[in-house]
């Protein structure tokens, strides 16, 4: 021990450096998206100045909001090395329920309706979670199944009907289209949700345990993490947020039928991956995923503004996804190498 009396100073310094290195990498990831976003808006704005109008920027935020909320939920699930493919279908169920309730019982308090939507989503998430944790069925299979089941239920329930905006109270539609101090209400809601979920994942035991489960499931069990309970909770949250997304979908678009949110699951997962959430779990943040959603939405909008063919819009999203994965792989390898070198130097010292 005496030989190490002088060690703490050196340890502190290199510890500081190691932390800075890893933190830089994560910041690089999120700053990278912000940079790409800024560049994209700037370039599109130069080519088509109308893109920079307040209305247009407002639309960007609005379009990304629902996806950002869903991506936050999806991050909770992906971090545990699972996936939730059913979010689009859950959104449809919740959206139709919201619309139908408000149309049939115009007097219902709006918070009650929103809580119902969240509750319905949570119930769907509970089913997913139970099948994954207690049924020991891979999440990919479970949620692929419930993707079809929930969508089928939505078709059965709507029976070809559609809820229209004129049947919905204005106070409700305002949530989707109104603003507070010039900022769209929907974007504010998304921001609050993302920050709450993001902080929970970052600064609370339950959140850190989700990372532990995704990073090494066996080690998590040995560390006394109640994995089943945590994974179940992640699915419930993902479902609940999809339910919230459904209510907001109705408020934003006014028109809801059984096809609402079709294909959203892929956009949401793509957002998370572009935002640096590792599909094999253990890495990523809710903020990254939300920024990913914003970036994907902005690309789509800018390509539309620039009158690019619809095919190329899809291809651009695909290319972005591959680029993000390549970037993660590259940075990951560099980080591994840097950490290995540091260990080697320390061993030699």
């Amino acid at each position: 021990m005496s030989a190490n009396a002088a060690a703490p100073v050196g340890v502190e310094r290199t510890g500081e450096r190691a932390r800075r290195l890893t933190e830089t990498v994560f910041r690089v990831r999120e700053l990278g998206i912000v940079g790409a976003l800024a560049l994209l808006i700037l370039v599109t704005g130069i080519l088509e100045p109308r893109f920079l109008h307040a209305d247009s920027l407002r639309n960007l935020a609005l379009n990304a909001s629902i996806f950002a909320i869903l991506a936050a939920g999806q991050t909770l699930v992906i971090v545990t090395r699972n996936v939730d493919l059913s979010v689009g279908s859950v959104l449809a169920l919740a959206a139709f329920m919201t619309g139908q309730t408000l149309a049939d019982h115009p007097g219902t308090a709006i918070p009650v309706v929103i809580l119902m939507a969240i509750g319905l989503g949570a119930a769907c998430g509970l089913l997913n979670g139970v099948l994954v944790t207690f049924g020991r069925v891979p999440a990919l299979v479970v949620t692929l199944g419930t993707l079809y089941i929930f969508r089928g239920l939505a078709f059965l329930w709507t029976n070809g009907r559609q809820v229209n905006a004129e049947k919905l109270p204005d106070s409700f539609l305002n949530i989707g289209t109104g603003s507070v101090l010039g900022i769209p209400t929907l974007a504010l809601i998304a921001f609050v949700v993302v920050v709450i979920i993001g902080q929970c994942l970052r600064d609370f035991r339950a959140g850190r345990e989700l990372y532990a489960i995704g990073s090494n499931p066996d080690a998590a069990r040995l560390a006394g993490v109640r994995s089943d309970r945590r994974v179940l909770a992640a699915f419930v949250f993902s479902g609940a947020l999809a339910g919230l997304g459904g209510a907001l979908f109705t408020a934003r678009f006014g028109t809801v039928d059984a096809t609402a949110g079709t294909g959203y699951e892929l956009t949401v997962i793509a957002s998370a991956v572009v935002g640096g959430v590792a599909i094999f779990g253990g890495i990523g943040s809710v903020y990254g995923a939300a920024l990913g959603a914003l970036l994907l939405g902005t690309i789509t909008s800018s390509l539309i503004v620039l009158k690019v063919d619809a095919f190329w819009q899809q291809a651009a999203i695909g290319a972005l996804l591959l680029l993000a994965i390549a970037f993660d792989r590259f940075v990951g390898l560099r980080l591994d190498a840097a950490l290995r070198q540091r260990s080697a130097r320390r061993a030699a010292a």
């Binding site: 703490p8 340890v11 006394g224 253990g282 950490l339 290995r340």
Partner: protein, 502 residues
């Protein structure tokens, strides 16, 4: 040492179906004692460790902590009782920081039950400093050596004031200096009154660190002694229940022409200017510390990694770079260090694993013939005295020693001219070790050139005709069988100048 054991197991039994993994487990651990536990693979050591660690539960018998009967229904229960298990392969979270790995589930909390990161880092750094190791609490675990990962595990054990520390083959993947450091840490723990159960296949370590020794065989504790009162021969005899022939049955073989020639092989930053040859019938050991670049040289020879410079010849024919299939065709066989990840497909059957190198020969019109596959697998299973239930069982169900035999079988089936084996006996029991050694010796006798990488000096000295020593990516010494001794090899491995005898 106090009189009352901290932890004891009395007449413990545990069965898996018809297999009695533990028939009569009796062990006592006292504060301030380091007890070594030895036994062949399958003797029941792992079962005993899992029982103490709360991973599995007793069928019958008793477990006592401080004299009180306990029944651990989960690893957490064992942990709460002050028992920490450090497994051979550390179970850590690579994506999280060292500090977070230590406190997972028990993070220090601040206001609103938020995690207090500053306090967490400070606490864990304090633990690491008290262990006398230089390791940053805030760096991620990814990229740490196995030795450092074990230190993280030990810090974890300390963080909840473990009274009993169970270490399951902690030294299997460590180099000499790393083992020394670990022993230092173990002695520190011992002085602070912890009871340590230390499991190892390396008898010299058992005698170096253990106060007492427990020998297991066939699911039962068969002997219990002070290390001072027993010799290593006696321990081996009690482990195998019979007198073991020489552990290193090296036979003289006729040494012929150079079969494998390595010319100035270089891979930037990994190894530099490595040249040597292995003759037919010769066993050449590649010794050195972990991280000296030995495995990397082997990987480059076999074509897994592409060298930046130099080339390899087999029987005079130059191999193309970075092409394992070409190396195989030229007659090189490669038994990698990590048999779980690189040597075997754990979920495939024993038969499929053993014959996977011969798929082309076993197939007709592109389809594998099941009968031929079985026949080949059966033949090798018999020749290597493989112990298994059925050839269709997943290879992951076999013990470590038997898994290694399957890896050997799969390469022997190709009738190689050059056999490269990387740590061929790591983590396998004494009996199987001797069988592997005999097999290598026989191969050499049949004219195969054998290149053996090993971190176990007795193995190197016992088996090799010639010893090459690597230090920091370069060959730092070459010793003939007659000249090689522990001191000379270690001098070369640590980069000290060779004496005149070399």
């Amino acid at each position: 040492m106090s009189d009352r054991p901290v932890l004891s197991l009395v007449r413990a039994t545990k069965s898996y179906g018809a297999v009695h993994a533990l028939r009569d487990g009796n062990i006592e651990l006292r504060a301030g004692e380091v007890r070594a536990l030895v036994g062949e693979n399958g003797a029941g050591k792992s079962t005993l460790v899992k029982l103490l660690g709360g991973v599995i539960r007793l069928d019958d018998g008793e477990m006592l902590v401080e004299g009180e009967a306990v029944d651990f229904h989960s690893p957490t229960a064992a942990r709460d009782a002050g028992i920490a298990v450090i497994y051979q392969e550390p179970t850590l979270f690579p994506d999280l920081s060292v500090a977070e790995n230590v406190v997972m589930g028990r993070h220090p909390l601040g206001a609103l039950r938020r995690i207090d990161r500053r306090e967490m880092d400070r606490e864990v750094q304090g633990l690491l400093d008290r262990l006398g190791v230089r390791l940053d609490a805030e760096r991620p675990v990814r990229g740490l050596s196995i030795a450092d990962q074990q230190i993280v595990e030990i810090a974890k054990a300390l963080s909840f004031d473990a009274r009993v520390l169970i270490m399951d083959e902690p030294t299997a993947a460590l180099s000499g200096p790393e083992v020394e450091r670990l022993f230092g840490v173990v002695r520190t723990l011992q002085q602070r009154g912890a009871a340590v159960l230390f499991i190892s296949h390396r008898l010299e370590e058992v005698f170096a660190i253990g106060d007492t020794i427990t020998v297991m065989r066939d699911g039962a504790v068969v002997h219990d002694a002070l290390t001072a009162d027993i010799t290593s021969d006696e321990v081996v005899r009690r482990m195998v229940g019979r007198d073991l022939g020489a552990l290193f049955p090296k036979e003289e073989a006729a040494i012929g022409a150079p079969t494998l020639q390595v010319h100035r092989l270089t891979r930037e930053g990994v190894f530099t200017d490595v040249s040597f040859e292995v003759r037919s019938g010769e066993i050449v050991a590649l010794a050195g510390l972990v991280g000296a670049g030995r495995s990397e040289v082997a990987r480059a020879i076999f074509g897994i990694d592409r060298p930046d410079g130099g080339h390899v010849e087999v029987a005079g024919a130059r191999l193309p770079k970075g092409r394992p299939t070409a190396a195989m065709k030229a007659g090189i066989a490669f038994v990698p260090e990590d048999r779980r990840q690189q040597g075997l497909v754990m979920d495939l059957s024993v038969a499929r694993n053993a014959t996977i190198t011969r798929l082309r020969a076993l197939s007709r019109l592109g389809l594998i013939r099941g009968v031929a596959e079985r026949r080949l697998a059966e033949e090798w299973a018999e020749r290597l005295q493989l112990r298994f239930h059925r050839l269709d069982d997943a290879v992951g169900t076999l013990s470590g020693g038997n898994q290694q035999k399957v890896v050997l079988a799969k390469w022997l089936a190709t009738e190689p001219r050059v056999m490269i084996v990387d740590e061929p006996t790591r983590g396998i029991d004494v009996g199987t070790k001797a069988e592997v050694h005999r097999l290598l010796s026989e191969l050499a006798g049949r004219g195969v050139a054998v290149l053996m990488i090993s971190s176990e000096l007795p193995e190197v000295l016992g088996m090799a005709d010639r010893v090459l020593v690597m230090h920091e990516g370069r060959i730092s010494g070459e010793l003939s069988r007659a000249d090689a001794d522990e001191e000379r090899v270690m001098r070369a491995a640590t980069g000290q100048p060779m004496d005149a005898a070399a």
